[in-house]
Amino acid sequence: MAEVSSGNSKSVTPRFSMSGICKTFGATTALDNVGFEVFPGEVHALVGENGAGKSTLMKILSGAIKADKGEMFIDGLSFKPSNPLDARRYGIGMIYQELSLVLHLTVEENIFLGVEPLKFGLLNRDEIHKRSKKAINIFNHPEIMPNTRVADLSIGARQLVEIGRALAAGVKILIFDEPTSSLSQHDAERLFELIGRLKKQNIAIVYISHFLEEINRISDRITILRDGKSVSTNKVSDVNEDDIIKMMIGRDVEDIYVRSTRKRGELLLKTENIKGELNPESASIELYRGEILGIFGLVGAGRTEFLRILFGLDEIKSGTIRIKSYSGYGLPVARWKQGIGYVSENRKEEGLALDMNIADNITLSKYENFGHFGMILKKNQYSAVEDMIKYFDIRCSGPGQSIKDLSGGNQQKAALSRLLYHDVDILLLDEPTRGIDVGSKTKIYHILDNLVSGNNPKGIILISSYLPELLGICDRIAVMSQGKLSDSMEVSNTDEHKIMQLAIG
């Protein structure tokens, strides 16, 4: 097939197309007449809030579930996968958000898992070695050797192995699902560069992401899903970020970040020259009632460690902490009692008990008053939680639903509502909006704003790597750079440029 650029791609058959796809689960319509296509050598971005139907669409495409109605074609031929392996044979390759590699096996074994070439009934190791070497050659990555165990690789390298698996299988359509959410900046760059090279090999790429900057940079066209419908398909060069967000959430961007009139109250928390095991080297802050203090910094600068020290999760080397009338270092048990709550950046491993239900997750820090003699009566617990679910607009079937089944955004809302349920005065939030959809983000911003305004305002420390968010909702921002925390700046007196310089310098 001739080299085609996305500009005149309309003249050839799409590598993949779907039309009229419908899917309902019980009473809910997940997909309603969705259509979209991708051409050879094109990167087609797919965006939408969580719950817009992206993952259902991908499951249909990868053969995990079947559509109720609609048709799919690969190179003009009808495509009806009966299961994931079948889809893989047709040339569909999925790169999942949660990487799906077997850690105990080597790179080459992972690449051929399930489709191992045989010789006399035994694994044909020479062939596996040769072909996987060819597949991973394109990465030019020093860490990745055919014989390395995947467990010994970094996250970024693991993702490349997964791509290698798709390439070795002769993939025609490669689907990325939030590929950069767990990557470092450097690894993300490497990935973008690789995607550029894959385009040249005429592979059709579907790219799902929440990060609009990325999409702007690497994709040719963008399709927006909202409430199970494909709202629009545009060339990326024809739309700007604001348009995209507007189409995704169906309302104006100005409504995302909110800042009501806030009144600064008494001093809640004061630290002086906090020094940790490795990081931070020195951090001094003051947090008052009725304000959001943002902490910006690159990953690894020591922001997370600082919060963890405040909450008693990491050890403190020197420095002083004063929280309301208490002073000194304290373990999490004590911190909760003093009215401090913490939301970890690591939602799945630290933030939530994934095997428990929503009610348990929200009330975990305060299993009290649900019955006499310390009993937990479901009726009382659920009714207490129901208010939270309503307040946060957590999309679920009820307090008894397993937290695992919720989307990332709704999980994060549940993690936050634990602090509200506990009724803390100080909220320590580490990347509370990372990797969640715009709708949930907006909801969280509104709630945070509510918390620091009004009659009984709280104080919030918010760590984020996303500057627009910090500038949008914080009152003051401090910058952590190589373990040192800068003095805080009033948001009105600073801008992206100044902050970035502090962070890198």
């Binding site: 392996l85 850690l103 105990h104 467990a151």
Partner: protein, 319 residues
Amino acid sequence: MIKKYLNKLGPFFALFLVYIFFVILNSKITSFAALETMVQQSVIVGIAAIGMTLVIISGGIDLSAGSIIAFASVVVAALMQFLGWPPYLAAIGGILSGALWGMMNGLLISRFKLVPFIVTLGSLLVVRGFAKGIAKSMPINVEPSWMSDLLASLPVGQKWMLFPPGAWIMIVLAILIAGMLKYMRIGRHIVAIGSNEETARLCGIAVEKVKVIVYSLAGAFAGLAGLMMMSYQEQGDPTGAVGLELDVIAAVVIGGGSLSGGEGSVLGSLIGAMIMTVIRTGSQLNGWPTWVTQVVTGIVIVIAVAVDRYRHMKTVQAG
């Protein structure tokens, strides 16, 4: 590279240490008779441990191994004594009976998505019950035949064989299964399932089928271990091998098996079985009471696993 081999040699090193410890206490343990006893005693646990290794690598557990060993020993004895079957047919019958129980475990676990611990806890009782039922709760004695020689001391003219035939059977099977794990598709699939079942399914591996095969093989190996026990004691004993599954599991774990799946080696498991035998034999030679042996064995199991985990934390930061 060197580090990698050192890691693999870990269990060997542990066996060496334990052995040297007892040699220092009592040199009788180096005698040919003592060595022979140790090999004989390792075979029953060792053979069952080969099957258990597969189960544990696949992320499961088989608590019914001890009961299946007793059941198979009863079946072999009953087929010979009550039905007059020739020894080799009875032997095949015994191994198959074990495989069938294993297959039942596997089917329950994979078809009904039940937890292996619970399923095999149930079959531990069921299988033991049937063994007692068949044998009317009494040991079944068998007439001596070639089968009685499987684990017997070698007669003077055959000392060149070094070990009794049963030990050789164990060694050959261990090599075959180790080869299967490394060089056959099913072997890699077993590791994949134990390491990350969802991924395995995603890659088109027939997870359910593989599990049934794994538990069936484990049952067959337990059956063979039962045959060895029958041969050694010259009777099928429905009340024998009680709690032996724990020795078997301990052997696998000492040899580097991880109860969370994905890890383990057949060779390691055999060495694990040897370590426990050395402790038992060494204690007996020193005239230690049984309770001391138990305490020492328990401590060694925990230390072995702790050292193994520690080594892992250093080499693998599995995310």
